[in-house]
Symmetry: C2
Subunit: 256 residues, 2 copies
C-alpha cells in the first residue's frame, strides 16, 4: 500500500487593515483547521498590502509551490478592492463580467431594492478561465482560477465560501494531533524530546512554552497522518514526561 | 522642508503551531501598532513552517526589501527551535555561544536552581556579528543582526523584547488614522470614495464592510503621515457620507 499523498496549500491575506494592526485576521486559523479536516496542510501564509505588484508576486510564487492557494480580501466594490484584477494579471489573462455572476447580482439587488450600479457590477468580474465560488451570504461571488481560490475578507463570508468550494478540493490524509501539557520547562525536556523526534521522523513533534497563572510550562504537540505512529510517539512522550516528574495537565488549546 | 522619510518593516512569524491553526498569532497586531507609533510601517508578513530553507528564503527576500525585519518564534531550547541557525545561514555567517548571553543564563539558572544544561545553553547562541536583544521576562535573549531582529514567539516575551530594542530603530513620520463607520453599503459609497482617493493620493483610504447585529455597514479608514491632509480628507469623506444619508456611528475598532 502506498503512503497517502501529502496535499499542501498556502494562504494570501490581502489587506492594509491587517498590516496596520487595526483588524485581527480570523481567516488563517479557520482555513488551517478546515483544510486539515479535508486532508490539506496549510504550509505558508503571506499578508500583503493592497498593492497590485505585491499581490501578483505572491500569487505567482505560491501557486507554483503548493497544490492550492487561497486568497482572502479585496473583492468588494471600492477602489481598494484590486484582488480580481491582480489575480488576472498574475495569470496573464483578461478579466470581464461573468454572465452568471451578473445575473446573481441583478436578482439580489432587485430583491433588496438597492441599485445595481457600476461599482457593484465590478463584483461580477472574474478572470478569463475562472469559475464562480458561491457566496450564500452577501451573494457577490468569489472565484477559482486553476489552483487559486479567491475569497472575501469578512470571516463569515470567507467561511461560507469555503463550504461552497470544498468539494472541489482533492485532499490527502488528514493530519491528526495530540497535545500534552506539563509544568516542566522546555530545557528539561529538550534532550529526550530531540531523541524522540529523531526516532519518529514521520511525526512532527512541536514544543510550545507557556506562562499562565504565574507558572511556566510546556505544551507538546505531536502531529502525523499515520495514526498508529502518532499513538506510539504520544505514548513514548508521556513516558518520557512522567520520568522527568511531569504530570499531564488538563488540555490547553492555546499555549501562548 | 523635505517630506519625512517612509520607513518600512516586514514580519516573519515562524511556527508550525500558527499554520496548523492551533495557536492564534498575537505578535502581528502588536508589532504593527507599536512600530507605527515609532514611525515604521509594517508592509508585509509571512508565516513560515519550522523548516530551515523556508526561513532562510523569507529572511533573505525581506531583509533586502524593507528597512527592518522582525522574526518571532523558534528561539527556545528544543529540536524545533531552528530560527537562530537559519538566520545565521541566511547571512552566511557561523553561529556560536555569545559570552554575555551565556553569563545571563548562568546567573539566571543559578538563581532559579535549575540546571544550565546543553539544551538551555543553545539559547545563548547568536550568529557572528549579531548583538543581544534583552529579554527581561525569561532572560534568554533575542538578537539583532544587521536590519533583522529575532524575537521570541510568546507574546509577552516578544513584547518585552520589542521595548528593549526600540531605541535602535530609526523611524520616519508616524502614520495617523481616522475611522468613520456608517450604515451604508460599500456599493453606495464606492464612486464618490474612488474620486476622493484620486484627489488624495497621499492619504490611504480603506473601505471595510462589516455585518453586525443583523445590519450591514462600512468602516472608512483614512491613513496618512501628513496630519493636515488627513484632516482635510476626513472632512470631505464625512461630507460625502452625509450627502448619501449616512450618519457616522460610534467608533468601531474591528470591522470584521
Amino acid at each position: 500500500m502506498s503512503a497517502p499523498k501529502t496535499v499542501t496549500a498556502a494562504l494570501i491575506i490581502i489587506g492594509n487593515e491587517i498590516l496596520s494592526g487595526r483588524t485581527i485576521d480570523k481567516n488563517l486559523p479557520f482555513l488551517a483547521t478546515r483544510l486539515n479536516d479535508i486532508g490539506v496542510q496549510l504550509r505558508e501564509c503571506r499578508v500583503v498590502a493592497d498593492v497590485e505588484d505585491e499581490i501578483v508576486q505572491a500569487v505567482n510564487a505560491l501557486r507554483r509551490k503548493y497544490d492550492y492557494v487561497f486568497t482572502t480580501g479585496g473583492i468588494g466594490p471600492t477602489h481598494d478592492d484590486i484582488t480580481a484584477d491582480s489575480v488576472a494579471k498574475a495569470f496573464g489573462v483578461p478579466i470581464g463580467h461573468h454572465p452568471e455572476a451578473v445575473e446573481i447580482l441583478k436578482s439580489h439587488y432587485a430583491k433588496t431594492g438597492a441599485e445595481l450600479n457600476e461599482a457593484r457590477l465590478r463584483m461580477a468580474r472574474i478572470p478569463q478561465g475562472g469559475t464562480m465560488v458561491e457566496n450564500p451570504i452577501s451573494r457577490a461571488p468569489g472565484f477559482q482560477i486553476e489552483n487559486v481560490f479567491v475569497l472575501a475578507g469578512i470571516p463569515a463570508v470567507a467561511q461560507a465560501m469555503f463550504e461552497s468550494l470544498k468539494h472541489r478540493i482533492a485532499g490527502g490524509a488528514p493530519v491528526r494531533s495530540t497535545a500534552t501539557a506539563v509544568h516542566l520547562g522546555e530545557g528539561v525536556i529538550a534532550r529526550g524530546l530531540g531523541e524522540l523526534q529523531a526516532r519518529y521522523p514521520d511525526v512532527d513533534i512541536g514544543s510550545y512554552p507557556f506562562y499562565r497563572g504565574g507558572r511556566y510550562g510546556t505544551s507538546l504537540v505531536c502531529r502525523s497522518a499515520d495514526e498508529a505512529r502518532l499513538k506510539d510517539a504520544t505514548g513514548e512522550l508521556r513516558t518520557l514526561l512522567s520520568g522527568l516528574g511531569g504530570e499531564p495537565l488538563p488540555d490547553v488549546n492555546d499555549p501562548a
